[in-house]
């Protein structure tokens, strides 16, 4: 087929650039004996190295089956799988799976092994020396935000759902696989923990640049995490495979727009992070500053409010003019406590939420350790959103044309695939 040669060329070009590896699915199909229609029907997909791709679709659409065919937990009945350009369709599945990280819903940790034992399973199987395994476990626990000293020897049932999920991710990453498959990994945790875990995954991916295939039925999760999203309909037919922005602004058909649901403009806010927009600097003082300095800063700053930071430079209190006078110069009693902050990785939607609930319409932005970095307020947010939507609109116009071409190519490939499937 003509496609094969072109995909081969792109693989060679990209695999060196990132730590991930490309994944190519070539007319991948699964037909269960005894059922007339295939569960997965001729999926063609090309996933770039270091890309986080989300499979999203209604339940029963075959997204999980497609994922499990990549590490051949489910053996495909037709088509090829190539990882990093290497055809793995006929390789020993046990060897394949040791090179592909796998994380599932509710973690799938083995309850009779400690956290460290769970994480070290794959490195032990591929024969790493003990010392290297030990340092790797510590490193991974640290990476997923768990204190190695504390969690090392614990058993999974001693952990909360979110902590278990973190260990599950650590286990999937243990042998440093280029490819990570995640099957609704955050499906079983509460919304708040899920949000945290999603943020952590984004941070991890920023550091690691793995190729991640992530299955979910939650479109908001897909938008939040995905570099590209594949919206699947029944039998894993790809309804649209594009960036979240494009899917939101330009759903390919009624099925996709139905799946996107209402409030696409609001969802758009999920796609941009605070670090991508302009944050304003605010006059700040710290707890250690002498009172007189604080007075001076209050008077000299253009705003009628300054932010008081604690000893570790974390936002502590908002001080207005006059607050100190009313509290008779006592910093402990003056001002209003900072009750909400957003991190640089938070989405604009989170920021908007925080700004809307804040009675003065501004919220402090913090770095990784909670230290102050700046402030967003209603005005900066409005400006950013306005710019974003404008940019989207321009891009959409351009995209419209491109999309038509892609769709034409897709239907063409599908027809060809159906023909190829019969002969194979």
């Amino acid at each position: 087929m003509p496609e094969a040669s072109t995909t081969g060329a792109t693989t060679g070009a990209t695999s060196g650039a990132a730590t991930g590896a490309t994944i190519e699915l070539d007319h991948l199909s699964k037909r269960y004996p005894g059922s007339p229609a295939p569960a997965v029907d001729s999926v063609n997909m090309e996933i770039k190295a270091g890309e986080l791709v989300i499979f999203v679709g209604p339940s029963g659409c075959g997204k999980s089956t497609t994922l499990k065919m990549i590490n051949r937990l489910i053996e495909p009945t037709g088509g090829r799988i190539r990882i990093g350009g290497e055809d793995v369709t006929d390789m020993d599945p046990v060897k394949l799976r040791r090179k592909v990280g796998y994380a599932i819903q509710s973690a799938g940790l083995f309850p009779h092994m400690t956290v460290a034992q769970n994480i070290s399973l794959v490195p032990r199987m591929i024969g790493w020396p003990k010392a290297r395994i030990r340092t790797r476990v510590e490193e991974l626990l640290d990476l997923v935000g768990l204190d190695p000293g504390e969690f090392h020897g614990r058993y999974p049932r001693q952990l909360s759902g979110g902590q278990q999920q973190r260990v599950g991710v650590a286990r999937a990453l243990a042998a440093d696989p280029p490819v990570l498959l995640m099957d609704e990994p955050f499906g079983a945790v509460d919304p708040i923990t899920r949000d945290h875990l999603q943020d952590e995954l984004i941070r991890l991916q920023h550091e690691l640049h793995k190729t991640i295939v992530f299955v979910t039925h939650d479109f908001d999760e897909a938008i939040k995490l995905g570099d590209r999203i594949a919206v699947l309909r029944e039998r894993s037919h790809i309804a649209q495979f594009d960036t979240p922005e494009a899917i939101l602004t330009n759903p390919a058909d009624d099925f996709v727009s139905g799946f996107v649901g209402a409030g696409a403009a609001l969802k758009r806010l999920n796609l941009t992070r605070v670090r991508d927009v302009e944050i304003t600097d605010y006059p700040t003082v710290t707890l250690d500053d002498p009172l007189q300095d604080i007075f001076n800063r209050l008077r000299s700053s253009g705003t009628n409010e300054i932010l008081l930071l604690d000893k570790r430079r974390r936002p502590y209190k908002w001080l207005r003019r006059g607050d100190l006078m009313r509290a008779r110069g006592s910093l402990a009693r003056a001002g209003t406590l900072v009750h909400d902050t957003v991190t640089r990785d938070a989405t604009l939607r989170d920021a908007l939420e925080a700004v809307l609930t804040d009675n003065a319409g501004r919220v402090a932005v913090t770095g990784r350790r909670g230290e102050y970095e700046g402030v967003v307020d209603m005005e900066t947010l409005m400006n950013s959103v306005h710019e974003l939507l404008e940019a989207d609109r321009l891009e959409a116009m351009e995209h419209q044309h491109e999309l038509e071409e892609v769709r034409a190519a897709q239907t063409h490939a599908e027809q060809e695939g159906a023909g190829g499937g019969k002969t194979a």
């Binding site: 509710s106 799938g108 940790l109």
Partner: protein, 278 residues
């Protein structure tokens, strides 16, 4: 299908007698608490020693006639006891090496269809009255220890087999898929995940089998297999109460002792991590 089975397993875990509770979840692990409390270690042996002591004292003052003397002297008692223990140990050994591998085999995909057949046979083994089974075996193999051993073994296979199958089937399929998904070989999944998780149920079956075996081994005497049944039988046929009493008491003490040892083994061999948390 899976959740009721899981609950069943959890219930079983909770049923385990006098299981010492570990510290609740958030506590840092620290030095692992001993699972065997001193009450557990001392209570039953103390009772058993008391029973044996009473029996001994009673025998000291009881005046025995020559028939009783004959039945109990010349190391007859210790010989019978030793035979009994040997019968139990050997039959249990065979039960284990037959029932556990068979249970593992019957839960593999290729042999799963044979499970009902095997279970039917195991059920038959247990449903047949032990004494009838023994009689048939004696007719077939002649009298002696061999017939007795086979009888006892067949009789005790069912609890171990059914518990092994139940234990392996109760394992969460998503967990097994995770094990395969991270690259464990089928043998690795069995040895590192399936069996360790099934250990509590398998051990419960072994414990049942052990206690059963102590009981059935007293019937070995009818096939010429010896054991404590000899004392009981002699006591009945010669109508000598002390002999009958001694045989019965020793059997009961042995059964309780074996059960106690098995319960200790259950506690010690149960994989760590299964009892903690919710």
């Amino acid at each position: 299908m899976t959740t009721p089975e899981l609950e069943e397993q959890e219930e079983k875990e909770q049923e385990a007698p006098q299981e010492p509770k570990e510290a609740e979840a958030p506590a840092p692990p620290g030095p692992p608490k001993s699972r065997v409390t001193w009450q557990k270690l001392t209570f039953l042996p103390a009772v058993l020693i008391a029973v044996l002591l009473t029996t001994w004292l009673w025998f000291r003052q009881a005046d025995l006639d020559s028939i009783s003397e004959n039945a109990l002297s010349n190391g007859e008692v210790s010989k019978a006891l030793w035979q009994q223990i040997k019968l139990v140990a050997i039959s249990t050994f065979f039960v284990l090496i037959i029932a556990i591998p068979l249970g593992i085999l019957l839960t593999r995909k290729a042999f799963r269809k044979a499970t009902p057949v095997a279970m039917a046979f195991a059920n038959m083994g247990q449903a047949t009255p032990a004494i009838g089974l023994l009689a048939l075996l004696v007719i077939w193999l002649g009298t002696g220890t061999k017939a007795a051993l086979i009888g006892i073994t067949v009789y005790a296979i069912l609890p171990v087999l059914s518990n092994t199958i139940a234990g392996l089937k109760a394992n969460d399929p998503t967990l097994l898929e995770a094990a395969r998904g991270i690259g464990m070989s089928p043998l690795g999944v069995l040895g590192k995940v399936e069996l360790p998780l099934a250990v509590p149920l398998i051990l419960a079956g072994v414990r049942t089998a052990l206690v059963l075996n102590v009981g059935t081994a007293t019937l070995a005497t009818f096939g010429g297999g010896g054991g404590l049944g000899v004392l009981i039988q002699t006591g009945i046929t010669t109508q000598r109460m002390p002999v009958l009493m001694l045989g019965s008491i020793l059997t009961i003490v042995l059964a309780l002792l074996v059960d106690w040892l098995a319960s200790l083994a259950e506690l010690l061999l149960r994989p760590r991590g299964l009892e903690v948390g919710t």
